[in-house]
């Protein structure tokens, strides 16, 4: 009997290990041994949450985040948020920046067949935030990283940003909504069809 329960426990452990390794291979942040975040891969197959745009021309020629901010989240973390109203541990949010096509108007907008507006041109950098309540206890459970504001290839790894550069603004603006500007992402607060 004892033998049987031991083997049952061993079996359960094995299953857990398999489940964990499967989960790990597809999702979650990866850190180097000195605590830097490894550049996320595969994010283009995550769910697109929204793409605010702060054109350089409307921000004194140089927006803090130039210019489109395309935000991606893994599907299971999006689902979790839709049910719980907050993100699970290990959630990674990727924000890829994309420049706009240069238009003739003073506000930087372009006349195109579909109308006057802003149109993506070149990939231009990546910022990432990771939820880990132990590692980032000092900044309301989230760590902030940038892999450069420039054309690919992006930096292969990044050190956590200082509080003043990222976290303090999120703490001041969106501490109550799990540090995320959920108001910009209709998928997070709209009842889906």
């Amino acid at each position: 009997m004892r033998m049987m329960s031991k083997s049952l426990i061993a079996g359960a452990c094995l299953l857990t290990t398999v489940a964990l390794s499967q989960t790990h291979s597809r999702s979650g942040p990866v850190f180097t041994k000195d605590g830097d975040l490894v550049l996320p891969t595969g994010f283009r197959e995550w769910v697109f949450m929204g793409g605010p745009i702060t054109p350089n021309s409307l921000n004194g020629g140089e927006a803090p985040f130039p210019e489109f901010h395309d935000v991606y989240i893994e599907r299971e973390n999006l689902r979790y948020y839709q049910h719980q109203g907050y993100f699970p541990e290990g959630t990674v949010l990727v924000k890829e920046l994309v420049l706009t096509q240069k238009g003739k108007h003073p506000d930087g907008s372009l006349d195109s067949a579909s109308g006057r507006g802003y149109f993506p041109s070149e990939l231009h950098g990546m910022d990432v935030m990771v939820k880990d309540s132990k590692r980032f206890a000092n900044t309301n459970k989230w760590g902030f990283f940038t892999f450069g504001h420039r054309a690919p290839p992006y930096s292969p790894s990044a050190r956590v940003m200082s509080v003043a550069q990222c976290a303090s603004c999120h703490i001041a603006g969106v501490a109550k909504t799990d540090m995320v500007w959920v108001q910009y992402y209709p998928l997070l607060h709209v009842k889906l069809q």
Partner: protein
């Protein structure tokens, strides 16, 4: 008389071969559904695709109402999605495969405060996503849409959720003509607005099927 019998035998033979192929491949309608996200009703209308928010996002042009005399043709963000397998094919060949569906979901702007539709947020002055506002899509089917350069165009409404469940093909004057006039050479798609597709490099962070 003899000739008619001969023809009859040919027709019967073709029917038999056709049935055999259909049986061998399993249910033909199911097989087609696996190949393309485009599902047509018996009267030729297109059903609204499901699950497109799990497809690959390739870009989001923005035409604010405030910059288009109060009413843009496509209000206002145009979020464009393509299935991963069709992105793979495009990255490899520069062409979309038959059956490719490209979904464009519109979202309105979040509470504009400036006349152009922008507002000021902690990240700067700009345009932020508001409510979902409709779906347009294109389907590549060179036989069905031979007259419009191999692509059919559909709209499921420009309004908040819920969208229409089915849509008839839009007349050429409404959609296809503009695509033919401007982007006939790039498979009827505004590739210049989608950096991932324009560059077609792995540097852009697209994993090849082999590396996944």
């Amino acid at each position: 008389m003899q000739k008619r019998d001969y023809l009859g035998a040919i027709v019967a033979g073709i029917a038999l071969i056709g049935t055999g192929i259909a049986l061998f491949q399993g249910h033909p309608a199911v097989a087609q559904a696996q190949e393309s996200a485009a599902v047509f009703t018996s009267d030729g209308k297109l059903q609204i695709p499901t699950g497109f928010r799990k497809w690959v996002f390739v870009g989001a042009p923005l035409t604010p109402n405030g910059l288009n005399n109060g009413q843009a043709n496509f209000p206002e963000f145009h979020d464009v999605y393509i299935q991963a397998k069709n992105v793979d094919a495009y990255m490899k060949t520069g062409q979309f495969p038959e059956g490719t569906v490209i979904v464009k979901e519109l979202t309105r702007l979040l509470n504009p405060t400036f006349p152009d539709g922008s507002r000021t947020e902690p990240s700067g002055r700009g345009f932020f996503n508001g409510a979902f506002n409709g779906i347009d899509l294109t389907v590549k089917d060179s036989k069905r849409f031979a007259k419009t350069n191999g692509w059919g165009f559909f709209t499921f409404g420009h309004h908040p959720l819920p969208y229409e469940k089915t849509a008839a093909e839009a007349p050429a004057a409404v959609c296809a003509n503009c695509h033919m006039a401007n982007v006939a050479k790039t498979d009827m798609t505004w590739i210049q607005f989608y950096p991932l597709l324009l560059n077609r490099t792995t540097e852009a962070g697209w994993d090849t099927p082999q590396s996944r």
